[in-house]
């Protein structure tokens, strides 16, 4: 397969921004606003009314609304992250002349890092909503997330070592 050059990578990011950023930004900003109001306003208000059942119903409602918009924006976010990891790899290569790894390897590593950061942010947002439903649920979701992060780090390290 022919290696994608920097102009092509930048054009791909520009296309992704043009095509996916508006809908992704709309959906994710809606999700963030729902999270802000839900977690910082409505869940404490629910806990004040009654400590178990009202926060559960309130948390579930906010979780459904939040998840709906996260899923709607997910495909666009994935494409944007993929495209931006390519540009990040080229930027890194340009700034560090001594790097021996190929641009494809750097792209894979950048994609792993970007994905790990995105998943950690999404988990951080889900965490209080899951804890409101049941405290153990939060931990139960965290275990696969951590395993997936380890797998991504492993993938990044093996990609880098394969080139040396």
């Amino acid at each position: 397969m022919r290696e994608e050059g920097e102009p092509e990578t930048r054009a791909r990011l520009a296309d992704a921004v043009n095509e996916h950023l508006p809908s992704t930004f709309t959906n994710l900003s809606t999700a963030v606003l729902i999270w802000l109001f839900g977690v910082l306003v409505y869940l404490p208000a629910a806990r004040r009314i009654e400590p178990i059942e009202v926060p559960l119903i309130c948390g579930l409602t906010v979780l459904i609304g939040f998840s709906a918009f996260v899923f709607r924006g997910f495909e666009g976010l994935r494409r944007l992250l993929d495209a931006s990891s390519g540009v990040l790899a080229y930027e890194y290569k340009r700034r560090r002349e001594k790097v021996k790894s190929s641009i494809e390897q750097l792209k894979t590593v950048a994609r792993c890092i970007v994905y790990v950061v995105a998943v950690l942010i999404i988990y951080g947002l889900y965490s209080p909503l899951l804890a409101a439903i049941y405290p153990s649920l939060n931990g139960l979701v965290f275990i696969p997330v951590i395993l997936w992060i380890f797998w991504m780090i492993f993938k990044a390290v093996t990609t880098l070592t394969a080139g040396t």
Partner: protein
């Protein structure tokens, strides 16, 4: 070539519209904010007096066989509802003014269209309504719980569902602006 340069005539109404929106918005904001503050202070005072003075005094007293705290609860709730509705009317005006200022600040100088101001108005109105209704719920919550413990919870769930819909409508309202800024950003990346 002539198509690329906008005609000089088109710029004048835009500049006039920009100045008009800016000055009218500022004046409207200055007019409505004191009224909002006044009604909010009144609502808080009613809440405080009701919760800390009148309801404790009325505890255990009956009026023609009806428990007085319940009657007082109802009266205070009705008063708070009137005050909150009054605040909402003023907030509607203030939000329109704030959206006008925001459109002028965010858009490049003299690059503000009536549609853009309308979009910002819808977005601002939605978010401010959610904040005002949440604050109003905090005022009502204890009184509603005194009438029936479940009432407060039911109202909260209704507020949460309404807030989710309102937030979605607000963000959707500025999607055209987001699209415009995204395409400008995409041009810079290339």
């Amino acid at each position: 070539m002539a198509e690329k340069k906008p005609p000089e005539k088109a710029k004048v109404p835009l500049k006039e519209y920009y100045e008009k929106v800016r000055t009218e918005s500022r004046e409207a904001l200055l007019r409505t904010v004191p009224s909002i503050v006044l009604y909010v202070v009144a609502a808080v005072l009613v809440w405080l007096f009701g919760r800390l003075v009148f309801l404790p005094i009325a505890e255990g007293i009956e009026w023609y066989g009806y428990p007085l705290p319940q009657i007082l609860n109802f009266i205070i709730l009705a008063t708070l509802a009137v005050l909150v509705l009054r605040v909402l009317v003023d907030v509607r005006r203030a939000v329109g003014a704030a959206a006008g200022i925001a459109a002028c600040e965010i858009g490049a100088p003299y690059d503000v269209s009536p549609e853009e101001v309308g979009h910002y108005k819808t977005a601002f109105r939605g978010i401010v309504y959610v904040i005002v209704v949440s604050l109003a719920f905090m005022l009502f919550a204890d009184y509603l719980a005194d009438i029936h413990p479940g009432l407060s919870a039911v109202v909260l769930i209704v507020v949460v569902v309404w807030a989710i819909y309102q937030i979605w409508s607000s963000v959707r309202a500025i999607s055209e602006e987001i699209k415009r800024y995204s395409s400008e950003w995409a041009k810079k990346i290339r």
